[in-house]
Amino acid sequence: MSGTRDAGRSPARFRASLSSLASVPITLGGLILVTFLIGRAVPIDPVIAIVGDHATPDVIARVRLELGLDQPLFVQFWIYLEHLARGDLGHSVMTSRPVTQDILIFFPATLELATTAILIAVALGVPLGVIAAARQGSRLDQAVRVLSLAGQSVPIFVLGLVCLLVFYVKLGIAPGTGQQDVLYEGMVPRLTGMRVLDAALAGDWDAFWDALAHLAQPALVLAYFSLSIITRMTRAFMLEALAGEYIIAARAKGLSPARILWRHAFGNIMVPLITIIALTYAGLLEGAVLTETVFSWPGIGLYLTGSLLNADMNAVLGATLVIGSVYVGLNLLADLAYRVFDPRVR
């Protein structure tokens, strides 16, 4: 009598990952289509939306020709796709540069901010969630629950403003807005676009500390929201895991509480937790838009809001497309991580 069921390891897992990957082009395609429609079909005059109110008549005529606005919509879409394939997101009225170039300039700063924020959130949130679950009902647990709830309800931009007010203005312990003090402007060669990293690589430690000090506030503000989510989800997952029968079996084996908590309970939640972290990171991109506005952080969020105020359609759509794609990519990573790490899905 056969005792072991072969769960058909490799082929099934491969097929499942394949279907995940297959959905990405559809989603990206949808994103591209939606941004295209927003750019062409929604505004009253798409050309004015792109070139602004003050453009001369021949500029308007040229752009109209370029976009093929006299052609049917799907031909326009094809032209749009062609441009995209070349990496051409159009020209920005605000900066007079190609949008693609703008994005390459601004994106690293957002990456620096978001990555720092998620690292803080995970480093603090996961242990907090685990300990809160281990001591369910205690004072610590209640405090953690309340703080998480509050963290999810606070508008990020208000938190940012209040932090600036308290720490910069009243207490003077944090630097003001921007990525760096005016003193250090242009002193550190731009390698990655992330000032902290660039300063470290260049060995300019004064600039390094200054950049780090400037990074601290916006990163912490951005981290608070994701910290709340990660703590809450970690706690919820842990509570569910700790209610499992295998935990009783582990206790019956006479194992230490620490081992049961981390090796058994936490070991079981790592996979859904990674998914949540990836999704939270994606959500940080949205929070970044607001945080960068408050702290004048030169990232893609600031670029987006700037182009919104200037009604610079190309820039808006270009930034939307890029942020949206990263978002989709992170969602996919979260999905794949699940399949790779969960032995049950193998």
């Binding site: 005792g3 769960a7 295998y246 009783i248 084996k253 006479g254 230490s256 049950r344």
Partner: protein, 276 residues
């Protein structure tokens, strides 16, 4: 090794006050096989788990005596209890689908139990795990050791569970409905395995089940529980001469080839059995 339980009471807080799940259970156990029989809700699982104090956090446990080999289980601290659990008494649970950790291999879980109480290197523990899997009559122990619980059948999983709990070489084994989740054909095998291992190692056994004939077959003594109380206690061989109407009712409604009946009698529950 002696387990002494006197007047065990377990209650849970509920919206209507305290709900009593176990109401004054008493028994003693030496190096023998004790069966505890009862329907769902009779309190048998709670009673057995209270010996190792493995109850849910909100449970309120009281007893005149609750001792494992002279150690007062009620008043012992966690560290003392951890010295009993695993090393001196093991617990086998009903469904290996849930009682084995899904993200650890079978071998790793057995090795963990070994190492926690016998020390040694990881390699030695894993080798011991493979050896134990062979003892529980698994044909390809090395492959099973590297498998995850969801890849194993019910019978296999239960054997892993047994191996895991026997790894520290305990004196007592508590088997909480070990075969209820298994196919009928596998049930007998697993029980024979348990009986064999327990006899060879000279262990005590508490076998919990809702299946009266099964328990009477494998155990020396039988406890019949209902509504949190022990209604009857007798030697397994003397079960046919049981006194209490509940036990008699259970026995009478068993179909028999030797004394076939046209209609099986229905067990009439007397509220008096729930006591004052």
């Amino acid at each position: 090794m002696e387990v002494i339980v006197r007047n065990l009471r377990i209650a849970f807080p509920s919206h209507q006050g305290m709900a009593e799940a176990v109401r004054g259970v008493s028994f003693t156990l030496k190096k023998e096989k004790l069966g505890i029989v009862g329907e769902s809700g009779s309190g048998k699982t709670l009673t057995a788990r209270s010996i190792l104090r493995l109850l849910p956090r909100q449970a309120r446990v009281e007893a005149d005596r609750l001792e494992f080999d002279g150690i007062d289980v009620l008043r012992a601290d966690e560290a003392a209890l951890r010295r009993i659990r695993g090393k001196r008494a093991g617990l086998i649970m009903q469904d290996p689908k849930y009682s084995l950790n899904p993200v650890m291999t079978a071998g790793a879980q057995i090795a963990e139990a070994w190492r926690a109480h016998r020390g040694g290197s990881g390699k030695a523990a894993l080798a011991a795990a493979v050896e134990l899997l062979a003892q529980v009559q698994i044909r390809d122990p090395r492959r099973v050791a590297l498998s995850y619980p969801h890849e194993l059948s019910g019978g296999m999983g239960q054997r892993v569970m047994i191996a895991m709990m026997l790894a520290p070489d305990p004196e007592l084994l508590i088997a909480d409905e070990p075969t209820s989740a298994l196919d009928a054909t596998v049930q007998a095998e697993i029980l024979r395995l348990i009986e064999d291992l327990v006899s060879r190692r000279g262990m005590g056994l508490i076998l919990i089940s809702h299946d009266l004939p099964l328990v009477s077959h494998f155990c020396d003594r039988v406890l019949v529980m209902y509504g949190g109380r022990v209604l009857e206690e007798c030697r397994a061989s003397a079960l046919a001469r049981a006194q209490h109407p509940y036990t008699r009712g259970l026995l009478d409604c068993l179909p028999s080839l030797v004394h076939p009946q046209r209609q099986l009698p229905i067990l009439e529950r007397d509220p008096a059995w729930l006591g004052p």
